[in-house]
Amino acid sequence: MNGELLAFGVLAALTLGSALLVVASRNIAHAALWLLPCLAGVAGLYLLLGVEYLAAIQVILYIGGILVLLLFAIMLTPGVAGRDRRVFNRQVFWAFVSCALLAGVLIHLLARQPWEIRSFSPPRADIGGFADALLGPYLLPFEVASVALLAAIVGAIVLAREERE
């Protein structure tokens, strides 16, 4: 049972350490690449929580899709990567103070909350029930999400298209 705690510690350290590098890396391309271990760490935490299919979705969609899209954004804006003299803007001090305060307050509030823990053993996350829920009671949000995705794709094409006379 201590293996679970060890796995959690390793995954949490991986996630938070690479998230720190995402935020602090001088080179924006390195920052985007550090997002990969961070997202993989979150996928590992999903596995630890017992939702294998969300971990798979995380790897396929986030690492395979969104991260590649962000790397495209970096590569299509040449001259931007790798020459940042100043990574942060002028509000870095107050941003640090307020984010540290935010984290402190959140942890303080959440840790003191008397949660009613319902399941002490890992629940069984079956993909069949998830699929039934997605195409049953949650059909409308599911369809709205797909329409929103379509609208975003069309909007991205219109925005990124080069105007020619």
Partner: protein, 104 residues
Amino acid sequence: VSPLHLNHYLIVSSLLFALGAFGVLTRRNAVGVLLGIELMLNAANLNLVAFWRYLTPQRYSPQVFVLIIITLAAAEAAVGLGIILNVYRRFKTIDVDYVSVMKG
């Protein structure tokens, strides 16, 4: 009985959220701001799954939420890419400190 508790996950996701917020507030590169937003979305997702695991294991709504958030994150990244490309063409930079023509 597992030695892990809900609080472990909540602490990790709080720290992840604060790191993402710091990135959004301070990064000068527009892509860096998008990276910060991704970190914050991941923190929210981790929170939802942790609450599902410990508080409402019989329901599917948290996982549906997570799936829809991931979908909308993909949409946000696509539109963000389009906007960043447009800004780059117009200003020859994507430093958000210089792109302030709409500032009053």
